[in-house]
Amino acid sequence: MSTITRRKPRLIFEDSDTKEDLFKTQTLPLSEDYKDNSKPRTQNVFFTKKEFGLDKMDYICLVVLTALSLFTRLYQIGKRKSVTWDESHFGKFGAYYLNRTFYGDVHPPLAKMLVGLAELIAGHDGRFNFKGDYPSYVNFTFMRAQIALYGAALVPISFVTLKALGISRKMAFLGGIFILFDNAICLMSRFILLDEPLLFFTSTTLLFVTLFYTSNSFTTKWYVYLFSTGLSMGMVLSSKWVGLFCVALVGLATIEDLYLKFGDLKMPKAVYTRHWCVRIAAFIVVPLSFYMFTFKLHFMILNKSGPGDKDMTPAFQAHLKNNNLGVQSYLVAFGSKLSIRSMKIGNGYLHSHSTNYPSGSNRQQITCYGYDDDNGKWIVESSERNPGYNYTANTEDGNPQQPIYVNEGEYVRLRHEKTNQYLGMDIKHQSLVTKSDKEASCMKYEDAPHKDALLWKFEIVDDEGMQKSNRIRTISVTFTLKNKFTGMHLRAPGTTLPPWGFDQMEVCGSKSTGGDDYLWIVEKNTNPLVMSTKIKVKKPGFLKSFIYLNMKMARSNNALIPDRDKYNHLESDPITWPFLIFPMRLLGSWNPGDIKYYEIGNPITWWSSTAASLLFPIHLILLIIVASRSKSQEDHTCLMQYWNRGKFLWFGWALHYFPFFLMGRVTYIHHYLPALYFAYLTLAFEIDFIAGYIELKTKLRTRTILFLVWGFLSILGFMLYMPFTFGYTQNARNLKYRQWLPTWNIYEDYHKM
């Protein structure tokens, strides 16, 4: 191990084409000097000085950018005095934190908590439900301004990030200008939305990870940057799940870094292990803990019953204040009216309605439906009494009857209250969607194929109740339902029925058991004979609720699938984003006099950023080819510099963009904004690299020229579309010459497809 050579020369064969390979002798300072902290390396991976710092000029730039940024983000921010765009959602979500009522949403809580915090500071008491005009007691301007600060911070952060990457000051400033003068980013920073916190945390993650790579290992600064990166990752992840792409970016860079360090033969194993451990702590443990922490906070704050109750398990709901599940009849008796819920996430309640199956038995449908309505009520009947017997009526002598409780293992009938038919099962017909299972259906008592076909047995699987017994108890007991005739268990496999089933969930029967598909729970139990009591059930632990809620979010997220028949002009396909083909109106009414906001980027810089992003891989391959054809060290250095600086920016763009192609859910143009942030930085980097190359060869002051040209174009583009960014009140037709593409809808109502 005494040699320094990266790779030993290999055995030469008769047909010797082995020794050359892709992993070339690596002489660049890619791995850290492990012990010479006294004599720090002069260069980092970005080929800039170790120990990053800003000088006076940099600070001046920062001040200028910040001032302009604050101005563009805050100017006339309160112009439209009504709830605008998605403020109706996110403003409301923020208000829930003030009301402390439980709500359900597809996004993690952090960004919405920040909205809540802004509302708290602005003095909102949670009364306003974010519909229509803002009332006088809501200081919406202040709320918007607070959220806009996150957006405003993007500009200085982008400047520092570029500086840290080793981009020249001019070009870093230009990068800041791109972000500053992009109309879409600016517009989206001016309302109470989740995009600002998301973009902010995305940018801090990138900032800290680049700073991390500029510092010497195991110094204080290094640790600060490291854990700041981890924390930023946690924050971006807790704002929206697209934060995962940020995590992936840092993850890939870390893997590359550790791979390079793995090849550093001089590094002692203990130091290498330490590198691993520190990164695991900072990049996995910290973000995950922070993510869980936000949920802990979420559960702690939201302790009252609210619109999101049904997203959670009944046991959880029972512990929310004012939730009507908390106090109700505890034991199930004959004649009880039940709402039976499937334990599989996203299934909902056992449901039937007066529509028949289109084939198979042609009997009445049994489905699972997300809401507990009149069609989801079932009455338990004893198999010993006649159908329709009234268990709750008074006896002949006028006294109320004694409740007869349902025991485990007892055969009962379940009558659908609305249609007076019985839950039943027939061995003959296979279920129409899950062909391997048998069909469950609702039938009249007389029509049953067999006298046992309507008989069901409760089999208790799990008991969360404080007291145990063999009785069926509301919420506490999880059970399966076994049919006597077929010997099969009722199952909700989570598949969606075709339109004949109104897109509700399938219910069928299967011989086997196991899994949530087969588990049911009584969520509501109404019986006048049984006293309402406080439901004695354990509150599910944090971890259980956390996992349940996240699974639920994942399911609802996937359920946001586009309905192509109702294609509206707000949605757009990911492929159109980089080319700015379908900008979006934030408001429906577009008449003269209305304040109009149009989400359109600065087309000039937007398209340049796309060109830069598409150019990067081609440029990289060209540089690799040049390096492989050249014996000079310069070309290799050039390649390494290009790669090390550009990889963060380009992969940031790619990771925030391409996954949208795989997503089935509805996509909007503002989903591109995080990718756009990276694309703008890629553009600045690309211009800097090319300008630097030309300057090297020709002595022409390319950087200055390009800076002036692009800076001018950037401002020009911003000015052209500024009316729509700050709110345009005149007739949109006045601006018809700014419609550069036929697909834009600046003044005509619909996109031309």
Binding site: T5, K8, P9, E20, V433, S436, S628, S630, K631
Partner: protein, 790 residues
């Protein structure tokens, strides 16, 4: 692992000089200086496997092992099995020269048609249903299956040749080939009229061909080099022409070629840019241009054979359909004018829209109430009651000059030609339909139809009824209309309605429902006619109608009947067909009971039932060889670990295995592994319904990866095999590994493969098993065999 230590190659390090630039070997010298000298072709040799007796014996033995299980009982069952229903049918269409549509390119299906043609079969049987008897229907299934079997048997033989060419010991090559020979799934697919074996043959042979080409890399631009390069391109083109999955093989070869070019480009190899350009151009032409030409050629042949109308017409645009002889669109038909009385024929059920002087009962049996209006039904025969006069939705001048509001001629003057043009009924016209015998107009309204409560009722109403007026307006919307043309004044003119050739939907203007009928019969009050109702979703074939007759006019004695057939070149046809193939392939998302997810394939979680015969408890069931599949997964796992280990070792500057072993694994083993991965992983992002037989190409390459692992663990003297020169034979090489234990291991693998094959063979050959025997073979609960309990 003793072998690894023996061959660790540590002694080679002595030759390494620190930091020295790599010395140039004599052969490299020769190649790089070649440009000056006259190129010398390598001595033409027989394939090496034939130049040694042992190798030849191995080849013959492999062939026997490959062929026997494939032709054993190949005549059984004498019935249509599984997808033979499709591919047998397509072969028949070639012989009938009738146009069909399929999502797969034509080559494999044409190959199936050749033997049938040779034995004089004329394509009279259409393989309609699984279980139909071949003997009774006179289909030459035996020769067709034999053809497939020959292609199938060639796969292990090719595998043997690939392994032998790539520097594996003959024993390992032979065992790998035998493993492939004795895989139940591959045998099953080689015994039936299916496409996969033919496609696999082209896939594996193109890899063989590429390896032959690669071995000539030190003799570039020689005849042999060009020959193998072009052959590779040709075979790749054939693979893609069998099924589009062939593109995976294409991309594999693409990866190899790019890597190869990358190494040629390296400055340390002293290639000039012009030499590199030559390398690049040769590969581009042979591996891109040649496959494209091959692909196009087969489609050209396809179109040249299928010149008659057939079941595939309906998929295509009218222009395309008119190219096919006998297509209804190309028939001589009459145009329809306003004022004509016409009958509407339903495409699916061959019934006619009729009405009679009877009304719907006020109350139906299920308690619903009707409009009590005049009945409109679909009758099986064309009678006077099936004729409807077409009246324009708004009366215009040309019309009122010649007809009254009820469509009766008001004068006997001949209609001038310019008016005739105006009076033609066209696509998207708004019309009213006046029933000829009862003199009232067709109407649909928001009343539930007699049998289908979700759809709207059709009835007739007095033509002067003001209130019902808007419900009596209908669009005639053509199915696949041609683009509107412009007349001399620049106005857009829609396509005209003609009898028989145009299919259209009758869509209500006010209710936006389309007239449909289905095989449900009305009760007694409706005389057993079919119900007609208004369907909200207009798409689907049960809403399609055509004009059967124009009352009083005849095709033969009219001059307006001729249809002009537009010209359509090969490329226009080709592009249209490609687009349709891709569209329909992507649309194959309908869930199928036997579909499975890619993740479950290597573990063989799911089989496919091909055929059952309950009389004798016989069944054919798709299942791989559980032992072989498990072994190859193990092999792939070990291979990945070893490769990762080697790469990690390089980072730390030590060698896990000897340089020669590493070179062999990194080059040859990796080729197999890439082929395996490239034929498997892309399925994960495919949206369509997938079946386990999509995994078959990966099975073959998986066995080859396993072969490379067998060599790794059992053969010590790698160098003897790996280092032999591409142009000399291997006559004197030992065939078997030296260690007796290793021979035993190899023998054990083969024996177990054979035993498992035999154990599951009844599912391949469809021999009788008792229920208990079936149950004992049910190793996984998800293998849903038939007849487990009886």
């Amino acid at each position: 692992m003793t072998s690894v230590e023996d061959a660790s190659g540590l002694h080679h390090r002595k030759t390494a000089t620190k930091g020295a630039s790599p010395p140039v070997t004599p052969i490299k010298n020769a190649t790089s200086n070649q440009s000056n000298e006259k190129k010398e072709n390598p001595p033409i040799s027989l394939p090496k496997i034939l130049s040694s007796n042992a190798a030849l014996a191995g080849l013959i033995l492999t062939s026997i092992i490959a062929i026997l299980p494939r032709i054993y009982l190949i005549w059984f069952p004498q019935e249509v099995v599984f997808d033979e229903v499709h591919f047998g049918k397509f072969a028949s269409y070639y012989l009938r020269r009738q146009y069909y549509f399929d999502v797969h390119p034509p080559l494999a299906k044409m190959i199936l048609a050749i033997p049938a043609k040779l034995v004089g079969y004329n394509g009279k049987f259409l393989f309609e249903k699984i279980g139909m008897n071949y003997i009774e229907n006179g289909a030459p299934y035996f020769v067709m299956r034999m053809t497939v079997a020959m292609f199938g048997a060639s796969i292990p033989i090719l595998a043997y040749m690939i392994m032998a060419e790539s520097g594996y010991s003959l024993a390992v090559s032979f065992i790998t080939a035998s493993l492939i020979s004795l895989d139940n799934s591959l045998v099953l697919h080689s015994r039936l009229i299916l496409l996969d074996s033919i496609m696999l043959f082209f896939m594996v042979s193109s890899i063989y061909s590429y390896i032959r080409f690669f071995k000539l890399r030190f003799h570039p631009f020689t005849t042999q080099w060009y020959l193998w390069l072009t052959t590779t391109g040709f075979l790749l083109g054939c693979a893609v022409s069998c099924k589009l999955v062939g593109l995976f093989t294409f991309s594999c070869v693409g990866i190899f070629v790019l890597y190869d070019l990358w190494r040629i480009l390296d400055i340390n190899r002293n290639t000039t840019i012009s030499e590199f350009g030559k390398h690049f151009a040769a590969r581009a032409v042979s591996l891109i241009l040649v496959p494209i030409v091959v692909y196009l050629t087969f489609f050209y042949v396809h179109f040249s054979i299928l010149t008659n109308t057939g079941p595939g017409d309906a998929y295509h645009t009218p222009n395309f359909q008119m190219q096919l002889a006998g297509n209804q669109l190309a028939m001589n038909t009459l145009p329809v004018y306003f004022g004509d009385s016409v009958s509407f024929k339903h495409i699916d059920t061959n019934t006619f829209i009729s009405s009679r002087d009877e009304i719907y009962p006020l109350k139906y049996a299920d308690g619903r109430v009707s409009s009590n209006g005049q009945q409109v039904t679909a009758t099986g025969a064309e009678t006077d009651e099936s004729f409807w006069t077409v009246i324009p939705g708004e009366l215009f001048e040309e019309y009122t000059n010649h007809f009254d509001v009820n469509g009766t001629r008001i004068n006997d003057l001949p209609i001038p030609p310019e008016s005739l043009i105006e009076l033609k009924v066209r696509h998207n016209d708004v019309v009213r339909l006046l029933h000829k015998t009862t003199n009232c107009v067709l109407r649909t309204h928001d009343v539930a139809a007699p049998l289908t409560p979700t759809n709207m009722e059709f009835t007739c109403v007095n033509s002067t009824d003001e209130k019902a007026y808007k419900d009596t307006l209908f669009y005639l919307k053509f199915d696949q209309p041609s683009a509107a043309t412009k007349d001399s004044e620049g106005n857009l003119i829609q396509e005209e309605l003609r009898t028989s050739s145009k299919r259209f939907r009758i869509v209500s203007k006010s209710q936006n429902v389309a007239a449909m009928t289905h095989a449900k019969k009305l009760p007694k009050w409706g005389h057993g006619d079919q119900e007609i109702n208004g369907k909200k979703a207009a798409s689907g074939s049960n809403t399609l109608w055509t004009i059967n007759t124009v009352s009083g006019k005849n095709v033969s004695d009219s001059e307006e009947t001729k249809v002009t057939i537009p010209k359509m070149g090969f490329f226009a046809k080709f592009i249209e067909l490609q687009r349709l193939m891709l569209e329909h392939n992507a649309k194959l998302t309908k869930p199928h009971p036997y579909q499975s997810t890619p993740a479950s394939w290597p573990l063989m979680l799911r089989g496919v039932s091909f055929w059952t015969d309950s009389n004798y408890n016989r069944q054919i069931y798709f299942l791989g060889n559980p032992f072989g599949w498990a072994m190859s997964i193990l092999g792939i796992g070990m291979f990945s670990v070893i490769i990762l280990g080697i790469l990690a070792g390089h980072r730390r500057n030590f060698d896990l295995v000897s340089a020669i072993v590493e070179r062999h694994l990194m080059r040859n083993g990796l080729i197999f592994a890439i082929c395996y991965a490239m034929h498997y992983l892309p399925f994960f992002i495919m949206g369509r319904a997938l079946f386990i037989h999509h995994y078959l190409p990966s099975v073959v390459f998986g066995y080859m990866v396993l072969g490379s692992m067998l060599q790794f663990f059992t053969v010590d003297n790698y160098q003897q095999y790996a280092l032999f020169s591409p142009v000399f034979s291997r006559i004197n090489l030992p065939i078997l590994p030296k260690s007796k234990r290793m021979i035993a291991y190899l023998g054990l693998v083969l024996a177990l493969q054979f035993l498992t094959f035999c154990y599951f063979a009844p599912f391949v050959y469809g021999t009788t098993l008792t229920p208990s025997q079936v149950r004992s073979r049910k190793w996984l609960p998800s293998w849903d065999f038939a007849f487990t309990n009886k």
